[in-house]
C-alpha cells in the first residue's frame, strides 16, 4: 500500500513524496530536460515493496524462504542481485551484517510491521548457527540453499531501492543535481552547482539536530535503536541483530550515521557500527568502502565522529 503525499514541480526542482516500504520516500531532482520520471520510480518502489517484504505472503521472498535446504531455486534477476550483495556484505563485515536473520527476528518478537510496543509471544530459545556458505550462487539466476535459515532483506532493500532510483534518475533524466531519501537513507548527486546540507537529527529530541554534513555526491544512512524497539516479557528488544549470534546487539551507541560513496554501503555501515568496538569501527567500515565518515551518538549523549576525531555532547 502506498500513498502519494506530494507531487510538486517548480522552475528549479521537481519533487515527489510518498509513503512506501513502511517509510516515507522523498525525491527532489533538477530536471532541465523535462523528462517524465515519477511514474517509473513509483512503480519500481512498489515492485520492491511487493516482492521483497517479509511481512507479505506469496511474494518472491516468501517463496524463496519456503524452499527447503539443498533445493536449487531460480529467482528473479533483482532478488539474485540483492541476495548476492547481501552475502558479500556479510563476508566484508565478518558476519556482523547478515540477511539470514528472519527466524531470530521473529523469535525475538519482531513479526509484524512497526509501530508496536510488545511482542505477541514470550521469549523462546534462539536456534541460530553461523554458517560459512548458506547460499551458493550459480549461473542463470539459480541459487542453492545450504541453510535452514530464512532471509530478511530489511537491512538492505531500502538502500538498494534508493541507490537504484538515484542512478536511474541521473542517467534517464540527465539531472544535474538531486536527492533520493528513503526514510533517512539518502543518495545525493550534484554536478557541482549545488551542495546539499544534510542535518543529523538528535536521537533524544528529533526537533533538534546535532550537526550536519555538506554533500555533493555520496550516500548517507542513519540507524537508530531508540525507535524500533519493543518489550518481550520483561526484556527490551530491538531490531538490530548481530549476524554472528542472532542476538540483539548490546551497545552504548543509540544512533549511527555513516557517509560513503554509495547509499547501500552506508546503510550496511550504519548497522555494523553497533556491532563493533569503538577501536575497530574504522577497520570494519574500510572493508565496505574505502572512503567513509561516521557520527555515533552514545547513550550518555557523547558524540564520536570518524575521521577527524572531534568530540562533543548532545546535551
Amino acid at each position: 500500500m502506498i500513498s502519494l503525499l506530494e507531487d510538486h514541480n517548480n522552475a528549479e526542482m521537481e519533487s515527489l513524496q510518498l509513503n512506501i516500504m513502511n517509510t516515507t520516500f522523498r525525491i527532489n531532482i533538477e530536471n532541465h530536460n523535462g523528462i517524465e520520471w515519477k511514474g517509473e520510480v513509483i512503480s519500481f518502489l512498489e515492485y520492491i515493496n511487493q516482492e521483497f517484504s517479509r511481512f507479505r505472503k506469496n511474494n518472491e521472498l516468501w517463496r524463496f524462504n519456503e524452499a527447503k535446504r539443498n533445493q536449487t531455486i531460480r529467482v528473479s534477476p533483482i532478488l539474485y542481485d540483492m541476495l548476492k550483495k547481501a552475502e558479500e556484505y556479510r563476508q566484508k563485515t565478518g558476519g556482523r551484517f547478515s540477511p539470514y536473520m528472519l527466524i531470530p527476528l521473529e523469535s525475538h518478537g519482531y513479526s509484524r510491521s512497526f509501530p508496536f510496543v510488545s511482542a505477541k509471544h514470550e521469549e523462546s530459545a534462539i536456534h541460530y548457527q553461523y554458517e560459512n556458505n548458506p547460499l551458493v550462487f550459480k549461473g542463470d539466476f539459480q541459487i542453492t540453499k545450504n541453510t535452514d535459515q530464512k532471509v530478511d532483506l530489511g537491512g538492505i532493500a531500502k538502500g538498494y531501492a534508493v541507490e537504484a532510483a538515484a542512478k536511474w534518475l541521473k542517467q534517464h533524466t540527465g539531472s544535474k543535481y538531486g536527492i533520493v531519501d528513503g526514510g533517512g537513507d539518502m543518495a545525493i548527486w550534484s554536478d557541482g552547482q549545488k551542495t546539499w546540507k544534510i542535518g543529523i537529527k538528535n536521537p533524544f529530541d528529533e526537533s533538534r539536530t546535532i550537526g550536519s554534513f555538506s554533500i555533493q555526491n555520496a550516500g548517507i544512512a542513519t540507524s537508530n535503536i531508540v525507535y524500533r524497539s519493543w518489550m518481550q516479557g520483561n526484556r527490551k528488544k530491538h531490531h538490530l541483530l548481530d549476524g554472528r549470534n542472532g542476538m540483539p546487539v548490546e551497545t552504548d551507541i543509540v544512533q549511527a550515521t555513516v557517509v560513503m560513496e554509495h547509499c547501500i554501503d552506508a546503510e550496511v555501515g550504519a548497522k555494523v557500527c553497533f556491532m563493533s568496538k569503538d577501536d575497530s569501527i574504522d577497520s570494519i567500515l574500510s572493508n565496505i568502502s574505502k572512503k567513509f565518515s561516521y557520527v555515533l551518538v552514545k547513550s550518555d549523549g557523547n558524540i564520536i565522529t570518524g575521521g577527524n576525531k572531534t568530540y562533543g555532547r548532545v546535551y
Binding site: T23, Y47, S76, W168, D181, I198, G199, T222, V259
Partner: protein, 80 residues
C-alpha cells in the same frame, strides 16, 4: 519461481528499461584508477592532481560539523 511470469510483471509495472538499468548499474564496483570523483584514490594520486581536481574531490562531502540548528538544512536524517 517462474522467471517468464516475473519478467512480464516487471514489464507491465516498472518497465524493462528500469529493470535492465538497475541490474546493469548496481554491480558497478568503484574503480579507483582514474575517476576524480572517487576519494579512495586521493592518497594515491594526490600529487598529480590539479588544484581544481583537488577541490572537486574535497567537495564530495565535508567533515561533520557540530551545530544545533533546525531550520536551514536541505534534508535531515530520520530514524530508521
Amino acid at each position: 519461481m517462474k522467471p517468464g511470469k516475473k519478467a512480464k510483471w516487471i514489464v507491465g509495472i516498472a518497465g524493462t528499461a528500469f529493470t535492465a538499468f538497475v541490474l546493469g548499474q548496481l554491480d558497478d564496483t568503484p574503480v579507483y584508477s582514474s575517476n576524480t570523483n572517487n576519494i579512495g584514490m586521493v592518497t594515491e594520486v594526490n600529487d598529480s592532481m590539479s588544484e581544481r581536481e583537488k577541490e572537486l574531490v574535497q567537495l564530495d562531502w565535508s567533515n561533520f560539523t557540530l551545530e544545533q540548528r533546525a531550520d536551514y538544512y536541505d534534508f535531515s536524517t530520520r530514524r530508521s
